[in-house]
């Protein structure tokens, strides 16, 4: 790790005042410190934001829930209000990383974590995300993890988060603060596609601070949601493909509203409202699920080694929707219920 300076900010104003000259905010640090050890990221200074009182998880007036930026992933996943009203988010967070990392990693940091593309991590290889203009080693390289949707000739990296796939489906809103004031960013606009600027993961400006994430009310989906994650080993691995599925099903069995988001397939959680619309007004059955999956995957392009992700994603979408129809697929409870 390069020599760095460290500053523990007492409040947001102090943190923002120090956010210049190559400094970065740190909360959990689980991804940033790892990248600093590899010299992939080289901030001159770290601004510790853990004392900013941004760890609160609390109901919002008018419904919905506020997830503080420095609240830990584990505390978020296990929070009674999250478990009760957003079981999809609990399932997604617990599908990611390890208990130790979830105990450290913050919600804001989860959104800002970088791709795990091996070429991004290996400073001995060209990478447009790490060093703009140097080229992409993944194109034509080892691509098992890489994108099948939304990639560009400059970058085919995927966003590694599970939590963010659920937040995309939930239509979360990111609240950020800078010297210029506060603003809200719709989750669909928060992460970027790589196009010709793969070094920019998000639309957050330099020196801008995430204060919290707003979850809109989602009680209509609470009875029918699923997070399905497919990976190379049973636990503690990044997704090859993951699916967040939420359905609002009427008493007549007809879908009133649907949400679908994919992880592991693109530079950002992949969500297409047009695919979700194909489910609305129809019975929750396999034929409509397959049609929605096809629509969600329109334009999917493999890189060779990762061609398998296209049919895998299609099947995973259908399976996740079937799990959602059956109830709330919360992997944290299935074995527990069996034992009880």
């Amino acid at each position: 790790m390069n020599p760095i300076a460290y500053f523990r900010a007492a409040d947001a104003a102090e943190a923002l005042a120090h956010a210049s000259g190559g400094a970065r905010f740190i909360a959990g640090g689980t991804n940033l410190l790892d990248l600093m050890k590899e010299f992939v990221m080289r901030p001159a200074a770290l601004i510790d934001i853990n004392n900013l009182s941004l760890a609160e998880i609390a109901p919002l007036a008018g419904g919905g829930l506020r997830l503080g930026a420095t609240a830990r992933n584990a505390d978020t996943a296990y929070h009674p209000l999250v478990r009760e009203s957003y079981p999809l988010l609990t399932a997604a967070i617990l599908a990611g990383a390890s208990p130790q990392i979830r105990n450290m990693a913050s919600n804001g940091g989860n959104l800002l974590q970088r791709t795990r593309c091996h070429y991004f991590y290996d400073i001995g290889t060209p990478c447009n995300k790490r060093l703009p203009g140097s080229g992409c080693s993944a194109v034509g390289g080892l691509t098992r993890q890489h994108a099948i949707l939304g990639g560009s000739p400059q970058c085919i990296a995927t966003h590694p988060s599970d939590m963010c796939v659920a937040l995309a489906a939930l239509g979360a809103i990111v609240h950020a603060r800078s010297a210029a004031g506060e603003r809200q960013i719709a989750f669909a606009d928060f992460h970027r596609l790589p196009d010709d600027r793969p070094e920019q993961d998000t639309t957050l400006a330099s020196g801008e601070l995430i204060t919290h994430i707003e979850l809109p009310p989602a009680s209509q989906f609470a009875a029918h949601s699923a997070y399905l994650k497919i990976r190379d080993r049973a636990s503690y691995a990044f997704a090859l493909v993951s699916v967040a599925a939420m359905l609002d099903i009427g008493d007549d069995g007809v879908v009133r509203e649907a949400r679908l988001a994919l992880g592991g397939v693109a530079h950002k959680p992949w969500r297409l409202p047009a695919a979700e619309a194909l489910l609305v007004g129809h019975p929750a059955d396999a034929a409509h699920f397959a049609a929605a999956a096809d629509a969600l995957l329109v334009g999917a392009q493999g890189q060779g080694e990762n061609n398998f992700k296209i049919p895998l994603a299609r099947r995973a979408v259908v399976r996740a929707l079937e799990q959602a129809v059956a109830g709330t697929h919360d992997n944290t409870r299935s074995e527990r219920d069996r034992a009880d």
């Binding site: 790790m1 390069n2 020599p3 760095i4 300076a5 460290y6 740190i26 959990g28 640090g29 689980t30 410190l33 790892d34 600093m36 050890k37 770290l46 510790d48 853990n50 584990a74 296990y78 399932a91 617990l94 599908a95 990383a97 390890s98 208990p99 130790q100 990392i101 105990n103 450290m104 997070y227 994650k229 497919i230 990976r231 049973a234 636990s235 503690y236 992997n331 944290t332 299935s334 074995e335 527990r336 069996r338 034992a339």
Partner: protein
């Protein structure tokens, strides 16, 4: 480069250090505090050998800076026993032959203490899933799971005997 004061309550003892900003908690424990029980396996949060308890919560000591933990209570494997009296998990690891080379063991032990503090694992399958941040290259997992679940008082028959393990379905 300047240094920063770090005060820790380390295994019940108040300790004061003066470290550069880039020193991880793991390096402080091993190189400055002389507590080499905590192991450096991968140094990237992938193996769990460096697991320690901060305020009773298990974390990877390699993925946090010492200066960020100023003022915290830190417990390492050296702090688990009460004098000559082993922690029940340590005794159970011996009885269940829950290690071969022993390199991952300090992290496994601290992780298991953290697991029990969290109170989220209620079946053998959930113990397996929630211990998945600790890798054992010797493959001592059956002994580790047996030791941890015994100390937790979990019925070994809690799982479906026909399918003792459903990949990817225990807390995902």
């Amino acid at each position: 480069m300047s240094t920063y004061p770090v005060r820790l309550e380390l295994n019940g003892e108040s300790r004061q250090f003066e470290v550069e900003a880039w020193v991880t908690l793991l390096d402080l424990l091993r190189e400055r505090a002389g507590l080499t029980g905590t192991k450096k396996g991968c140094d990237h949060g992938q193996c769990g050998a460096c697991t320690v308890l901060v305020g009773g919560r298990r974390i990877n000591a390699c993925l946090t800076l010492a200066v960020m933990q100023d003022g915290q209570q830190v417990t390492t494997v050296e702090g688990l026993a009460q004098g000559a009296q082993l922690h029940p998990l340590q005794q159970a690891f011996i009885e269940h032959d829950a290690f071969q080379c022993g390199y991952c063991t300090p992290g496994q032990l601290c992780s298991a203490v953290g697991l029990m503090n969290e109170g989220e694992a209620r079946t053998v399958a959930e113990v397996r899933e929630l211990m998945s941040g600790n890798i054992c290259r010797c493959g001592a997992y059956p002994g580790i799971v047996a030791a941890v679940t015994e100390v937790m008082g979990l019925a070994q028959h809690a799982d479906n005997p026909d399918r003792p393990y459903l990949p990817g379905t225990v807390p995902a």
